[in-house]
């Protein structure tokens, strides 16, 4: 088998992909374009699904349950729907992988269940399901100079002797090219990408005004707390 790490993000997301290489990913892919910026979960899942289709056949897609910034837990299922594959969310444990089936323990409301899915399938995992593998120092040496298209374009810009096409070719030969997909490489409808393709709009943001401390101050002493307990007894909360 082969493991590919795929992320959509700004050019600096190549840092994360290099870390994936250090941890053992066979292949990495950066999906980046100004036109992808500002995407909500719907537009994100649209571009991700197009990129995944382009990358070819897969058995499993693993995603986090939720991103730390958003806490929405939507991108996984939304991508699965677009790829027309089944999904298993809230994975707690992968029990067994057979030739054409996978068995998983997943959280449900009030308990857990064990399910068996055919392959391909998209799986979202809860945190702590596995410990990330530490970087291998050999792989760090091998891949620390891996570069995305954007990074190679930058190199070429700073040095007129270098041409991007040649650099890409050279890095590919050395296995150091971070596959980079932009709107040019994907069969995407620009209207469905980035901020344009995102139905959710922020209408208002309001700072929460904290109540000006209109609370009774209670001294942390026996006398102070005693009065508080009396008060709560009078209110029929205690007693």
């Amino acid at each position: 088998g082969k493991v590919s790490a795929v992320t959509m993000g700004p050019p600096r997301a190549s840092d994360i992909l290099r870390e994936c290489l250090f941890m053992g990913a066979d292949e990495v892919c950066l999906i980046t374009d100004r036109k992808f910026a500002g995407a909500d979960t719907l537009a994100t899942s649209y571009v991700l699904s197009k990129a995944i289709e382009k990358l070819g056949k897969f058995d499993f897609i693993f995603a986090g349950r939720q991103a730390i910034d958003g806490d929405t837990a939507q991108v996984g299922p939304q991508t699965a729907e677009k790829l027309s594959v089944p999904q298993i969310t809230y994975t707690e444990e992968i029990i067994e992988v057979k030739k054409d089936k996978i068995r998983i323990k997943r959280k449900i409301d009030g308990g857990y269940e064990i399910v068996e899915s055919t392959i391909p399938v998209l799986i979202t995992v809860l945190k702590d399901v596995v410990d990330p593998r530490p970087f291998s120092s050999k792989r760090v040496m091998a891949y620390k100079n891996a570069k995305s298209l954007i990074e190679l374009e930058k190199l070429a810009e700073d040095n007129s002797l270098l041409a991007v096409d040649k650099l890409v070719h050279e890095f590919e030969e050395r296995g150091l090219y971070i596959n980079t997909l932009t709107t040019d490489d994907l069969d995407v409808d620009i209207e469905r990408c980035g901020i344009k393709g995102s139905p959710t709009k922020v209408y208002k943001v309001e700072s929460v005004v904290l109540g000006g401390g209109e609370h009774a101050k209670v001294e942390p002493t026996k006398a102070g707390l005693g009065e508080l307990v009396d008060q709560l007894m009078a209110d029929h909360i205690f007693g």
């Binding site: 208002k204 942390p220 005693g226």
Partner: protein, 338 residues
Amino acid sequence: MEFKNEIWVFIEQRNGKPADVSFELLCKGHKLTEAMGGTLKAIVIGDDVGGIAKQTFTYGANEAVVIEDKSLLHYRTLPYSRILNNLVKEHVPRIVLFGATVIGRDLAPRVASHTKSGLTADCTDLQIENVKYLKVDHPNLLLQIRPAFGGNIIATIITPDVPTQMATVREGVMELHPLEKPFDGKITKLEYKHDPVDDLIRIIEQHMEDNKVNLKSAPIIVAGGYGLGSKENFRLVEELAHTIGGEVAGSRAAVDAGFVTPERQVGQTGVTVRPKLYIAIGISGAIQHRAGMQDSNKIIAINNDPEAPIFGVAHYGIVGDATEVIPTFIETYKHKLK
């Protein structure tokens, strides 16, 4: 664009038992239809769910759409999302609401993805308003209100350019108000058409743990935060709760630190509670935490930082070190109630 003024609520059931959150959403949906006109429909999928369909009329549904089959007894992503995808595509409701449960969060994104609808997770309030956005008037838009990521900011999300607006809401966020006289609603039964993809995933077995903590109905809650500093110190919170007859809860930071189990987390991504008394100890009072407890009847905050935001929602504030205040509190209480 002309839209149909229909609000749908997905009625979740587990083993034939309806989820509280679905009825809470019906009550909210009823309020929203009062604001924008139109009808409230309950979408009930399962096996033998006619009883649940009838119950929805008590919470404000005008109509219950029922899809029944033996194979629909337990929730599975594919038959359920396929059914809803088709229904939403065919009828184009204006709003669809889901509980932010494991089931709702598995289902809603698939339906939103399929129908290219906007979807906002974990809303803490929903309102109807005539909105002017980028110079265009949008009558009766759904305001999807939730704390923004990080910081003490509340964001109002809208999805003005799509026919269907979707949102998920956690259990306990909306209040349950049964109607005095249930509606004389209509039950519409739709046929379930099986598709081979429905069986790509099989449920092998299910385990339910019944000793579920019930924070929602506890009259007294004692919640501890990261400020307790250690699991040992957190014992003091448990001891106080035990002494005064309360349930133990925690902030997310306390849960992440392993002081207390996740099902006891209070807040936007935990449980929303409205007890008679809420005691917050070593909790700073981040907006995501306050979202889950600020409607408590009485709030006592114990914190060593007099500037902590939690004092802003407290009725009684105690500035002091938790490890000293709690033992004094316990001692005083025992002495008074002997």
